[in-house]
């Protein structure tokens, strides 16, 4: 199995086989996979980097790492059933194989975060790539200052990683704030868009901020970060585009002159704030 290419010329599009060691739906549409490379090699990556995940006969899709590289041996992804490839992937179970090309792109600038306060603002499925960073910080807690996490979803039913959330709610290592746009009868917490969480805490202007969520969320969060006085090269945005090839060739993820798959998907806001196509 695996690399049986006769040609000795390296092929950018050759994926590696990964075995599913755990597969569980977190919501009716979102499935959490824990994977291990079939070759036995470790997957070396940084929080914020991504993979092209494929199933032969269906195709390939870009997905961010959802686990921290500090937790070795396996790595996680979350697949939301939205199209042909993702729906096919979500029919896979423990013991099945899928194929990956990784790591791709640029992740979070950890050097810039070390020794400083960190704020992560995650909306909906934006928690998946940021979970890689969140667990990294929690595993190396002493290297960072105050750590604050904002997480927002449309409704309580849309919350992901419930086991993690339960831990974070009681953890002394992270100041965790959560909100929903629309509450149900059991919800006791904050109701409102994610920026309503700013009033519940104090964020210092020296903080490094990370934003990942639906496109509409960015400008509102950045407005608050500007108000606090966080420098724009210390705000990191994790962007989504149609990253078809993942290696800076196919053109689908272009945002002005940048390729999101090569120059990102994580960008300092100062680098993309003048790119007209970054936030539409």
């Amino acid at each position: 199995m695996g690399h049986q290419c006769k040609s000795t010329i390296e092929n950018l599009f050759m994926p590696e086989e990964a075995e599913i060691v755990r597969a569980e739906f977190m919501t009716p549409a979102e499935k959490h996979f824990t994977l291990r490379l079939k070759s036995g090699k470790a997957m070396v990556f940084e929080p914020g980097q991504m993979l092209e995940v494929s199933l032969f006969g269906f195709g390939e899709i870009p997905i961010g790492f959802a686990s921290s590289p500090t937790r070795k041996g396996t790595f996680d992804i979350v697949v939301r059933s939205v199209g042909r490839v993702s729906s096919a992937l979500n029919r896979l179970e423990k013991g099945d194989s899928l194929w990956v090309r990784a790591p791709l792109g640029k992740g979070f600038d950890l050097e810039k975060m070390r020794g400083r306060d960190v704020l992560v603002v995650a909306g909906g499925i934006g928690l998946c790539p940021t979970r890689s960073l969140i667990n990294y910080i929690l595993d190396r807690r002493s290297e960072f200052g105050k750590f604050t996490l904002f997480f927002g979803t449309k409704t309580p039913k849309d919350q992901l990683f419930r086991e993690d959330l339960a831990q974070w709610r009681i953890s002394k290592n992270v100041e965790f704030h959560e909100t929903v746009d629309r509450a149900d009868e059991n919800w006791k917490g904050n109701v409102g868009v994610i920026t309503t969480l700013f009033k519940n805490t104090t964020i210092s202007p020296d903080t490094v901020a990370v934003i990942c969520g639906p496109p509409v969320m960015y400008k509102f969060v950045i407005r608050d970060l500007d108000r606090i006085g966080i420098a724009r090269d210390r705000i990191f945005v994790d962007l989504e585009r149609r990253m078809k090839c993942g290696v800076g060739k196919c053109g689908h993820c272009q945002m002005n002159d940048l390729y999101v798959c090569m120059d990102g998907p994580v960008f300092p806001y100062s680098k993309v704030q003048d790119r007209e196509e970054a936030f539409g």
Binding site: H3, C5, L12, M14, S81, R241, H252, Q254, N256, E277
Partner: protein
């Protein structure tokens, strides 16, 4: 002009000059002639016949009233009197549909299988297009699906005998010389002057009855290639540097782009016929056995509606370039600004294929750029 905008322009010009200077001369060896030969008119068929016996030769041939690059069946099919081909010769390394992988129960196998071939009769503007693709497929992650085919190919250029009705190759990227060829053939009165530029090109000499060219023949060839530049029907009126700055600065002029694109069908023809376009889509196909299949790439076009669309589930989607004007603008930004800054000249070679291929005739870079930058052929915006 506000100070900030002026400053921004200056920085871009400085960056542009810097990029021009640090440009990697990957094909520098192709820059100078090795030897110059002469081939009699009557000996061309014999030369090609022997070449064909040794390797496939891809060259311009007639297709009804137009021309295409195709594998020659015989030397008689060659049409060096072509004006422009329907598709550019990049098809020799980057075909419309290219297999990347085979897959089956035993996993994937790489489909990189380069074959030795000769690409014959390429006009200089198309050689410039090949140069740009060479750089773009090699930068960052090296894409051997293209580069292996490219390496295995000997490229022979040809003088232009007929100029197409929309060509402007004499006024675009004039400071960028074609480099990606191994030999160049120029039609002169008594036959052909054949200039070899690389060992691969020099190796072709053994296939024909070449003799050393005389000084007069070399001079005549230079005259032929210089004269053709004066015959372009369309003219771009500005320097590469000015085009990069002015087009980039027109980004926010929504009215302009909406107006330029108002008759656009979003068909992507301008992309598909372009020698410097290299965007593609990747798709899987099952074989009839339903257990094996192929992963391949096909040319894609940023003018089409779904090029930048992502699926959000439940029938929802987000299209990052939803309007025709945005897509039309993106093509011009790429050609005239973003890649211009990277390549040291517009990602346009003046072949005129997009102008001729566009049904509502709105894709012509000369008209678009002259309108934006201002000039005799259009009102300044």
């Amino acid at each position: 002009m506000p100070v900030l905008v002026q400053l921004n322009c200056d920085i871009r010009i400085i960056k542009f000059i810097y990029l021009m200077l640090k440009r990697p001369l990957t094909s520098a060896a192709r820059g100078t002639a090795m030897s110059v030969y002469f081939l009699k008119e009557s000996d061309l068929t014999f030369f090609l016949g022997r070449l064909l016996a040794s390797s496939p030769v891809i060259a311009p041939v007639a297709k009804k009233s137009k021309f295409v690059f195709a594998e020659l069946g015989s030397a008689a099919e060659l049409r060096l009197d072509y004006d422009v081909t329907l598709l550019p010769p990049k098809t020799a390394f980057f075909p419309v549909k290219q297999k990347l992988l085979d897959f089956g129960p035993d996993g994937p196998k790489s489909a990189i299988t380069p074959r030795k071939q000769v690409l014959f009769g390429v006009h200089f503007y198309d050689i410039k297009g090949i140069d740009m693709l060479d750089q773009l497929f090699a930068e960052g992650h090296r894409d051997n699906n293209y580069l292996a085919n490219r390496e295995a190919t000997t490229v022979v250029g040809s003088s232009i005998q007929k100029v197409s009705s929309r060509a402007f190759f004499s006024t675009v990227g004039t400071d960028v010389q074609p480099r990606g060829h191994d030999a160049f053939l120029t039609h002169v009165t008594a036959g052909y002057v054949f200039e070899t530029r690389t060992p691969k090109g020099e190796a072709l000499i053994s296939f024909g009855s070449f003799e050393k060219a005389t000084a007069a023949q070399i001079e005549e060839a230079a005259g032929v290639n210089a004269a053709v530049l004066k015959r372009c029907p369309e003219k771009l009126e500005h320097s590469s540097e000015l085009i990069a700055v002015k087009v980039r600065n027109a980004f926010a002029n929504e009215e302009l782009w909406t107006d330029l694109a108002k008759d656009c069908f979003s068909c992507g023809s301008c992309n598909i016929v372009c020698p410097t376009c290299y965007c593609f889509d990747v798709q899987d196909r099952w074989n009839l056995d339903q257990v094996s299949g192929t992963r391949h790439r096909t040319w894609d076009a940023c003018l089409t509606n779904d090029f930048s669309k992502v699926s959000l589930g439940a029938g929802g989607s987000e299209n990052f370039r939803e309007r025709r004007g945005q897509r039309f603008r993106h093509r011009m930004m790429r050609k005239a600004a973003y890649l211009n800054e990277k390549l040291g000249g517009p990602a346009c070679v003046g072949c005129g294929r997009c102008s001729a291929g566009c049904v509502p005739d709105i894709a012509d870079p000369v008209r678009i750029i002259n309108r934006i930058v201002g000039g005799r052929h259009g009102s300044s915006v």
